[in-house]
């Protein structure tokens, strides 16, 4: 998959820096903020279904669902990032991700669209003491007047504070 990524990015831009940077992002809303994750990590998008709780799990892990026979844990990003009210209505969406060899679902307030970002549209993340560790922010993207927070979702999901993996890779 990483080879494919590299191939896509190199074909679109000759700049050597672009090789590490993906350039197509799925954008979604969490509260009032807009986030972007690399499109190649996204497996599918589905509605919010009945979830089976998991005992003694952190609050942001809502539980597990059945995705065509696979048991998939669901994480509510709004709870994790403490953004907005974690309400569940018909607009609540679960993005199924394929990261670090695992299938994980994240609950967001809504999916906007898929955006291509050129290198000139990306800015490095300022070192703010934000709720998300800047370690997991790849950068900030600007599209017209909007600002996108680009998350390194793979790194975030395999980080130890998510508690998704038994042995954290990092």
């Amino acid at each position: 998959m990483s080879q494919l990524q590299t191939a896509i990015t190199t074909s679109n831009s000759n700049n050597s820096r672009a090789i590490q940077m993906p350039n197509e992002f799925l954008t979604f809303r969490l509260g009032d903020e807009e986030y972007g994750i690399e499109i190649l990590k996204v497996q599918e998008i589905r509605g919010y279904d009945a979830i089976t709780q998991i005992a003694n799990a952190p609050e942001f892990i809502k539980g597990v669902v059945n995705l065509r026979g696979i048991i998939v844990p669901i994480i509510d990003m709004r709870v994790k990032f403490r953004l907005g009210n974690a309400t569940y209505d018909q607009f609540t969406v679960v993005i199924i991700l394929n990261v670090a060899g695992r299938v994980v679902g994240i609950v967001v307030d809504g999916v906007s669209d898929v955006i291509s970002l050129g290198l000139e549209q990306m800015r490095p993340a300022p070192g703010l003491g934000s709720i998300i560790d800047t370690e997991y922010i790849m950068g900030l993207g600007t599209v017209d007047e909007r600002m996108l927070i680009l998350i390194d979702i793979e790194r975030l999901m395999s980080s130890s504070d998510m508690g998704l993996l038994d042995h954290t890779i990092n």
Binding site: I54, V64, G69, I71, P73, L165
Partner: protein
């Protein structure tokens, strides 16, 4: 070229292992007094296929060994020698050596070349014996005498063959081949490589003109057999574009040979002479590797010497020669017919387990979707939606059939496990000097592949145990009025959604008194009033053994506890029945598949959990008076005089429960390794067979949960880790 071959290594290893297993099965089936020719041929074919593969990959140690096997087997299957039990022993040893060599090439433990040499020597000795004996046999028929002469020539070649396998030839047999091939779609490097390989075989002369680069004509004079040349070429050149001919003037002695070779290449059945039949039967192109269509070196050698001995008979005598060979080779040519259909019968494909599991998952999902649709459509008016409803019922049938056939992919007959025991019993009986017959019943009973792999070790242990402790020595048996030969029976059958495997023997049986004495010695809590069942189960205690002497077979008391643990790990149960002096029967009861579990679904709040059924003793609604508290917080319940700790599931999992008073809910009494506990839940829902899914594949281990499953409505339910819950309750009590 070697890099190209590497991708075939794994196939070769797998195929060889299978062939070895087949070979062993045939060897064990072989009746020394009246050997079945079909079996001998099967063994020969297996050895030959391994040799072919090993030769291609350059595993010379394996080629040598299989070659020795072949040499002896060839004599046997032609009826030139009768099978003796020491030969079977030698064959078995040889197959062990090949197995070890295979493991060595796989990068595991290196095979011991000393053992290989010993076995080689033995095989050689056996085939040499034949040579000594053969001339003594009076053969009246002149035709057959000629056949015998052929054999002698062949044998004299054998030692040479072992020295430089596989291309030994008499120097006088230097031949010249005309090779024609088209090099279309071949790279320059490949052609260069090919030329280098051919030059290694002998003197190469290029006849084709330099301007016609896509059509090559070569003359090769070499000592190597035609097959070697063919093999060298066939890897690079498309066999369809390849033509190899023996130059006619070179072999004027037997012109029939030319015809023979060319027909061999083109595989034209109408041209088939008798030699052809013979050689193609030994190496059916489809049977071996598929990519070397030529015939093997050794049988061809026979053919050549055959022809040599017939050289005075020239071409005119061709017909009579065929007749001769017909007689000599009767046994082998007779069986050549059923071989080709066998290739199509046993067609199978190798598929990775992951793919199969994926299909099973998807089909499971399909069944759930279908159930959901059926639920929805059942509310529709059957008159208006008649077509839809009939379609739905058809869908239901199809999905059910599909699910059944998909589930059967993972199922394998238990003969895969049973087939290894004849060997175990044979070796062990010889070692212990006992006479034992092994009977297997129900080999075609199917169970999950995962279980097949796991059941093998415990079963081996039980069989060894039966042989060592159960079956008595012949004298003792006769004194007890039993037949001198003991019988061990392996039986497999289905019973109520379970698979039962029985290991029974007609040996001495368990000695109740002896077990009790031993148990007392070891300080186990026993008394004379215990039931037989309880006494027998003592042998599953760790370190328990009643054997007077510790042998290298068994008696150390290690094992039965492991067997029991393994079986329980598979969700199975083990029972013993025994009668002193009559025998012992140990039955293992297993679920049909690892992927499915019998469970009781219970509700806590709005969540559903599955409790594995084999841990449940009973469930009950307690009265308020039965519930007691210990030091204010710990609760116990009195069940028939016993005080059991109460595990409140909603407390363990921090769930919101509708029922908090114990006497308003249900208690499920669980037992694990002798410890009991009462699980407090809101309600019982029902009993299900559930498909076990891993939580860990996408999440991590959760305390108190062993897995998850998908219920009929598509929701996920967690399967409780009963053992951990019971254990935790025990610790809480202390």
């Amino acid at each position: 070229m070697s890099t190209d071959l590497e991708q075939f290594y794994e196939i070769f290893f797998e195929e060889s292992s299978e062939l070895l297993a087949d070979m062993e099965a045939c060897l064990l089936r072989l009746d020394v007094n009246s050997p079945d020719l079909e079996d001998l041929n099967a063994i020969f074919r297996a050895a030959h296929s391994i040799k072919g593969g090993a030769g291609t990959f350059g595993f010379t140690d394996m080629t040598e060994m299989t070659h020795m096997l072949e040499t002896l087997l060839d004599r046997l299957r032609k009826g030139e020698l009768t099978v003796r039990s020491e030969m079977v022993d030698a064959f078995l040893k040889a197959s062990d050596v090949i197995k070890a060599q295979l493991a060595g090439h796989r990068g595991e433990n290196e095979a011991d070349p000393k053992v290989a040499k010993e076995v080689c020597e033995e095989l050689k000795r056996l085939s040499d014996e034949i040579q000594d004996r053969l001339p003594n046999e009076a053969i009246a028929d002149a035709d057959i005498e000629m056949g015998a002469a052929t054999v002698e020539i062949d044998i004299s070649n054998v030692p040479e063959v072992t020295v430089n396998v596989p291309q030994s030839k008499n120097a006088s047999l230097k031949k010249t081949y005309c090779i024609e091939f088209s090099s279309a779609s071949m790279g320059d490097a490949a052609i260069e490589n090919l030329f280098a390989n051919l030059k290694r075989l002998g003197d190469l002369e290029e006849l084709s003109s330099a301007d016609k680069r896509d059509q090559f004509k070569l003359r090769l004079s070499t000592e190597s057999s035609e097959e070697d040349v063919w093999e060298t070429l066939a890897f690079v050149v498309d066999p369809a574009n390849l033509k190899i001919e023996l130059e006619a003037n070179d072999v004027s002695r037997n012109a029939g040979n030319v015809q023979n070779f060319s027909s061999n290449i083109s595989n034209a059945p109408d041209l088939c002479t008798n030699e052809d039949e013979l050689s193609s039967e030994k190496m059916p192109p489809m049977q071996g590797y598929g990519f070397f269509p030529g015939a093997p070196a050794v049988p061809k050698e026979l053919t050549n010497s055959d022809l040599q001995s017939n050289s005075m008979q020239q071409q005119s005598a061709h017909v009579s020669k065929n007749e001769t060979q017909n007689k000599v080779n009767k046994p082998s040519s007779k069986v050549s017919a059923p071989i080709s259909p066998a290739t199509s019968e046993t067609s199978s494909i190798r598929v990775s387990i992951e793919k199969v599991d994926q299909i099973i998952n998807l089909v499971g999902e399909l069944v759930i979707t279908q159930a959901m649709l059926a639920q929805t459509t059942s509310q529709l008016d059957p008159v208006i939606f008649e077509k839809l409803l009939s379609g739905m019922s058809q869908l239901e049938r199809n999905t059910r059939d599909l699910q059944e056939s998909v589930m059967s992919i993972r199922m394998m007959p238990i003969s895969f496990v049973f087939s290894r025991y004849p060997r175990v019993v044979r070796d062990l009986a010889a070692k212990l000097n006992k006479r034992v017959e092994l009977k297997t019943v129900g080999e075609n009973t199917e169970l999950d592949k995962g279980l097949i792999e796991k059941i093998a070790d415990p079963l081996t242990h039980l069989v060894r145990n039966s042989l060592d402790h159960g079956i008595e020595v012949a004298e003792k048996r006769i004194a007890a009025g039993k037949p001198a030969q003991g019988t061990i029976t392996l039986r497999a059958f289905h019973q109520g959604g379970n698979l039962v495997i029985e290991v029974s023997d007609d040996g001495a049986g368990l000695n109740r008194g002896k077990i009790l004495v031993k148990a007392k010695e070891r300080g186990l809590p026993v008394n004379d009033g215990m039931s037989d069942q309880e006494v027998w189960s003592l042998i599953f205690e760790a370190g328990f053994s009643t054997a007077e002497t510790v042998t290298d077979v068994s008696g150390r008391g290690v094992g039965m506890d492991v067997v029991k643990r393994n079986i329980q790990g598979m969700g199975g149960r083990i029972d013993i029945e025994s009668a002193l002096g009559v025998g012992t029967r140990i039955s293992i009861r297993l679920p049909l598949t690892l992927a499915i579990l019998d469970g009781l679904s219970v509700a806590v709040g709005d969540q559903m959990f599955i409790v594995p059924l084999n841990y449940i003793i009973e469930s009950m609604q307690p009265s308020a008076a039965d519930i007691k508290t210990i030091s204010g917080h710990g609760r116990v319940v009195q069940v028939r005089g016993e005080y059991l700790p109460v595990i409140a599931l909603h407390e363990v999992f921090n769930l919101h429960s509708n029922v908090t008073a114990v006497h308003e809910g249900i208690l499920v009494i669980l037992e694990d390794e002798g410890h009991k506990a009462a699980l407090f839940v809101d309600d019982l829902i029902g009993q299900h067979q559930v498909v076990i899914k891993s939580l860990e594949s996408n999440y991590r281990r959760v305390q108190g949960v062993s897995g998850a499953t998908i219920m009929g409505d598509g929701k996920v339910a967690l399967i409780l880790d009963t053992a951990a819950l019971v254990l935790a309750s025990q610790q809480e009590m202390v």
